[in-house]
């Protein structure tokens, strides 16, 4: 029997705003399968986002949903989680929202290791505003604000998360649709701040400026440029040139923030 996505979608809220060929819907389906596989109580699950195409995702989900301001999802979500640590808190957003205007909140949420899962849909561009370069746009790429090619070097978002203290970091792609739910489910189960970067495509504002002739070509590019971490172990540096690693990139057990704050309350009340 086909998987029933509808029971997690708010009635009457589809169709979504995403363009034909955009991978965001693939990621949303992965998130839904992850929530279903873990049997999360949707009444007790908050999905928090910032601003951008990806940040419209929570509105479709039948959960406690919070569409915040540009870049602020991690900080709003920190307030929700601190107030109600028993809630599952999932963040969703794009690369520009999360690592440019929201970069400070992002790295500090990583540092605190607060028990939330941040799904970053990285399509390497500001799609909603018409295709300006983001901190994830490759050097040399064309965007509406890099007509002569992008002079900026990009962030490696997963490395940024690891460096900032996130204790679970994974990467997938919109092409590898069947892995997305597994990565997200493992991230949600991890006690601490988990980051799942999904490499995604934006045919409308990125693809057509960067010589991708079709969505299929963009999807194939995601497939051809990614290598599972396990497979990469057997590959030479030369073979890995120009490739990105996918799968669970980092995992560590460390004290979790709301648990540590519960100890603060215990110490304060013991005095």
């Amino acid at each position: 029997m086909a998987f029933d996505y509808d029971k997690y979608i708010r009635p009457g809220k589809l169709p979504h705003i995403w363009c034909p060929g955009c991978g965001h819907g693939i990621v949303m389906k992965g998130l839904i399968r992850a929530i279903d596989s873990l049997q999360l109580d949707t009444k007790n699950t908050a999905i928090v986002s910032g601003i951008g195409c990806a940040s419209r995702l929570p509105g479709y989900m039948d959960c406690c949903t919070l569409h915040t301001a540009h870049g602020r999802a991690a900080a709003f979500a920190t307030g929700v989680k601190m107030a109600k640590p028993e809630m599952n808190v999932i963040l969703v957003g794009g690369d520009g929202d999360g690592t440019a205007i929201g970069g400070n909140h992002f790295i500090h949420a990583c540092r605190r290791n607060i028990d939330m899962t941040y799904i970053i849909l990285n399509n390497k561009i500001y799609g909603m505003t018409g295709g300006q370069f983001s901190p994830a746009t490759p050097t040399g790429a064309k965007a509406s604000t890099t007509p002569y090619g992008n002079p900026d070097p990009p962030f490696d978002i997963a490395k940024l998360a690891i460096g900032a203290g996130a204790t679970f970091v994974a990467r997938g792609t919109a092409y590898h649709a069947t892995q997305i739910d597994k990565l997200i489910a493992e991230a949600i189960q991890h006690k601490g701040f988990s980051v799942v970067e999904i490499l995604d495509d934006c045919p409308t504002t990125y693809g057509r400026r960067n010589k991708f002739k079709s969505v299929i070509e963009m999807m194939n590019h995601l497939k051809e440029t990614s290598v599972p971490v396990k497979a990469a172990e057997k590959m030479t540096a030369e073979q890995l040139q120009g490739k990105v690693l996918t799968g669970v990139l980092y995992k560590e057990e460390k004290p979790e923030y709301t648990t540590e704050y519960a100890k603060v309350i215990e110490r304060a009340q013991a005095k």
Binding site: C64, A75, A83, N104
Partner: protein, 377 residues
């Protein structure tokens, strides 16, 4: 039994007042001259099972209190000048999404870094016009340590009652001076709870105007699944660009405060019965004004004071009425005429409005005010 008394700073009183009002979540960022509020909250809130978090920046602190409020907490943040500028983005979010929260801002010299340890009253316009777009504004301006304690409680009550951010702005003098404070007993001052939904989750809409201009607000994690956005929204919380809905919702958000000015606006009238010259003052400046009014009376001048306690909504009705009775207004303030402009608007050209403006980090002294009172012919 004798009431509990203490010798406290305005900032400390603010934190204790918040706790009396049921505040159980504080998020902040260190900034002079408001940091003592965060320090007291970090010490006291966990004793009561509440939460304190020091965020990575001012915007993050504002975001955290909004998130916590949606999860059912009563929330406070504290800041000053540059921090207020940063928070404005999300104060607007709190206004449009209608999330109760209290913002305590100590007024120091500005703009920018300005004079971090000097008093000022130059944020009163930022309280109304700081965040972009049309929105309601409630601003309380206490003049003593005791009043800071009591006005923080009122701020929480107003924010819950009207489901909107409320600001409390003492100037740096009120925030840092120490005075005797008498603590109210539990129950002595009313604490207003949030209006919770009365309908089951499947019927709940977060902006359901069939319950009036202030719809009930559910909390995340209590069985109610609902959507909150900073976009113009419909009654069910989802975004819309439909002209008639956006117009109606924008008007309601402002009306819910402006149609209730008599419930919100508070003031003190001092020797106004026979007054010919009225000093209109607020915050620590009103303390110099009171002294000046007494000194003027000793010299045979019929002076009085109208003390603003609620700056927004502005006490239009009261000042318009006074304008028809007196010879003139004197408006001392630690800025270059922010309140004075509002008084001129209310005076409608009927009587002169003589301002006294100081932005040098020094308080306005009574002699300055007496001299200005004498200028009113």
């Amino acid at each position: 039994m004798a009431k509990k008394v203490a010798f406290l700073q305005g900032n400390e009183a603010a934190a204790h007042g918040a706790i009396y009002a049921g505040c159980n979540f504080f998020a902040g960022y260190p900034i002079t001259p408001s940091t003592e509020v965060a320090e007291v909250c970090s010490l006291e809130l966990p004793k009561l099972g509440g939460k304190f978090i020091q965020m990575e920046d001012e915007i993050g602190a504002m975001a955290a209190i909004l998130g916590a409020s949606l999860a059912g907490s009563k929330v406070l943040t504290a800041t000053s000048g540059p921090g207020l500028s940063l928070k404005q983005e999300l104060i607007g979010y709190g206004c449009i999404a209608e999330i109760p929260c209290v913002i305590y801002n100590v007024m120091r010299g500005g703009p920018s870094t300005g004079m971090p340890t000097g008093p000022s009253q130059s944020d009163v316009m930022a309280a109304k016009w700081g965040t972009h777009g049309d929105h309601p504004a409630i601003l309380l301006v206490p003049a003593s340590v005791q009043e800071t304690y009591e006005e923080i409680i009122r701020a929480f009550n107003l924010s819950e009652k009207y489901r909107t951010p409320v600001m409390v702005m003492p100037d740096e003098i009120v925030a840092h001076m120490r005075e005797r404070i008498v603590f109210p007993e539990p129950g002595e001052i009313e604490v207003v709870p949030r209006k919770a939904p009365t309908v089951p989750p499947e019927q709940y809409k977060p902006y359901d105007t069939s319950f009036g201009d202030v719809p009930p607000l559910a909390s995340y994690g209590t069985g109610y699944k609902f959507h909150v956005t900073g976009l113009n929204k419909m009654q069910d919380g989802f975004p819309t660009t439909k002209a008639e809905i956006v117009q109606a919702e924008e008007e309601r958000q402002v009306r819910k405060v402006n149609a209730n000015v008599d419930d919100i606006v508070t003031f003190e009238e001092y020797l106004l019965d026979d007054a010919e010259v009225v000093v209109i003052a607020y915050g620590s400046t009103s303390r110099s004004a009171r002294y000046a009014v007494n000194a003027a009376r000793e010299q045979g001048i019929k002076a009085g004071m109208f003390r603003i306690k609620t700056f927004w909504p502005f006490p239009d009705k009261q000042i318009k009425a006074l304008a028809g009775k007196v010879k003139g207004f004197v408006t001392p303030e630690m800025n270059l005429g922010m309140c004075t402009g509002e008084v001129e608007r209310c005076a409608q050209g009927k009587v002169p409005v003589l301002g006294i403006f100081r932005v040098d980090g020094e308080p306005i002294n009574p002699d300055q005010i007496v001299a200005k009172i004498k200028e009113v012919k």
